[in-house]
């Protein structure tokens, strides 16, 4: 969809542009959307290990020696994964809250305070992320 147009020599002239709240919201929404799509594929890859694991013997499953459990345990053992999980939550929460904001915008509700609702979703995202840190990071260090 996005194309480049020949608008003369000056079009390429680099400029610094000031972004307002609505523009930041759009950029963050786009960014978090791509991150969530990327996560979806790794999520599918990790969950797919449950398919071979389902054929394992009951004793193996109870002992936690099957492929799925092993994969999850080894992933959760990595500090990087623990930290990325916090980031994932932040991304998901922001995408949800801003999605609600966009829903209201589409319905024509509260368009005058669209910047405030963006700031509110940012603050709420921050609060929820901070609150989640003990749960995600517990025992990682």
């Amino acid at each position: 969809m996005s194309q480049s147009y020949n608008r003369g020599l000056i079009e390429d002239f680099s400029r610094w542009r000031e972004f307002e709240a609505g523009m930041w919201a759009w950029i963050f929404h786009k960014f978090t959307g791509w991150v969530l799509i990327g996560y979806l594929f790794t999520h599918i890859a990790v969950l797919s290990t449950a398919i071979p694991a389902s054929g394992a013997e009951t004793a193996v499953l109870q002992a936690g020696n099957d492929v799925y459990t092993q994969t999850i345990v080894s992933l959760e053992g990595l500090l990087l994964v623990r930290i990325l999980e916090v980031g994932l939550l932040a991304v998901a929460v922001f995408h949800m809250l801003n999605g609600t904001r966009l829903l209201l915008v589409d319905l024509g509700i509260g368009l005058d305070s669209q910047d405030k609702s963006f700031y509110a979703s940012l603050i709420l995202t921050g609060a929820i992320t901070v609150a989640s840190v003990p749960t995600f990071i517990a025992g990682a260090f």
């Binding site: 996005s2 194309q3 020599l9 002239f13 400029r15 000031e18 005058d112 669209q114």
Partner: protein
């Protein structure tokens, strides 16, 4: 200083006519031109010095580009020091710079009271109407550039043709095939309806919204905020009747019509006449959906 200038000119031309033969006219004119240029340069230097020394001056960095002059084809920024006055606008400062320092500084302006829509510019990273933007509210140095996403003709002047094409694409004029009842000759509008379209009628065609729109920058076919607002003004006008409204909605709901808007609110933020552009675009989206949605 300036009061002595004319006297000097007279003296210079007198001495020249005495020493030179009349047939050497060309040479004399060239000489006079050279001297005038020297004087101008001197005067500009003095003015600049005085302005720089003055406590209350503002620094203006203005984008310069002139495709017709070889030395000016490379875009550059010129710095002007302008004495600050209370209530000074960006346009006032630009006019001072043009009249005092460089008469080749080019920009559009006409009414100077935010009605003609000629002087939309990119000031400190945002689309502003120069005559409506107070210097006192801006951070220094003030950067003045031509509107982004348009071809620059010279200095601060951009080609507005594409913008006007988009405006005309929505047929921005009243049309109807319904006539008033009885003896009335005029098309009467209800007060409520007038209130509904009031804000959208304020548009002055300055092109600030179109320039700020990220989507319009990547899609030349997109109607853009101003044109859609214009379409809103007439589509919401009850006097036009159902047939015409249907025709207008068909223009609006095209692929590159209202659906390209991604509610970034850039247009609403920059509009110098405070038109709620995004609100109007969103309302037209809903109108378009309602128009096509059938449950039977």
């Amino acid at each position: 200083m300036s009061t002595q200038l004319p006297k000097q000119t007279e003296e210079a031309s007198e001495s020249e006519t005495e020493s030179d033969v009349p047939s050497r006219g060309d040479e004399r004119r060239a000489e006079r031109r050279r001297r005038a240029a020297n004087r101008r340069e001197q005067r500009q230097a003095e003015e600049a010095e005085r302005a720089a020394a003055d406590e209350d001056t503002i620094e203006l960095r203005v984008f310069r580009y002139d495709p017709d002059v070889e030395e000016k084809q490379e875009p550059r920024f010129d710095t002007f020091h302008v004495p600050f006055e209370k209530g000074m606008t960006v346009l006032d400062a630009l006019m001072y710079a043009r009249d005092t320092y460089d008469s080749s500084l080019t920009f559009r302006h006409s009414c100077r009271q935010a009605v003609c829509g000629s002087d939309a510019m990119f000031v400190n990273g945002g689309q502003k109407l120069a005559c409506k933007t107070q210097i006192g509210e801006l951070d220094e140095p003030i950067r003045v550039e031509p509107l982004p996403h348009a071809e620059v003709r010279k200095d601060l002047v951009v080609d507005m043709e594409h913008f006007y094409d988009q405006m005309e694409a929505v047929e921005p004029y009243f049309q109807t095939n319904e006539y008033p009842d009885g003896e009335l000759e005029e098309q009467r509008q209800s007060r409520e309806n007038r209130e509904k379209v009031k804000m959208s009628t304020r548009c002055i065609w300055c092109g600030a919204c179109m320039s700020s729109c990220n989507v319009a920058a990547g899609d030349n076919e997109y109607l853009g905020p101003a044109a859609i607002n214009k379409a809103y003004r007439f589509a919401m006008d009850e006097r036009e009747g159902e047939d015409v409204k249907q025709k207008r909605l068909e223009i609006i709901e095209q692929e590159h019509g209202v659906w390209r808007c991604q509610t970034q609110f850039s247009c609403t933020e920059v509009c110098p006449k405070d038109i709620p552009l995004t609100e109007h675009i969103q309302e037209l989206k809903r109108e378009a959906v309602k128009n096509n949605l059938k449950f039977w």
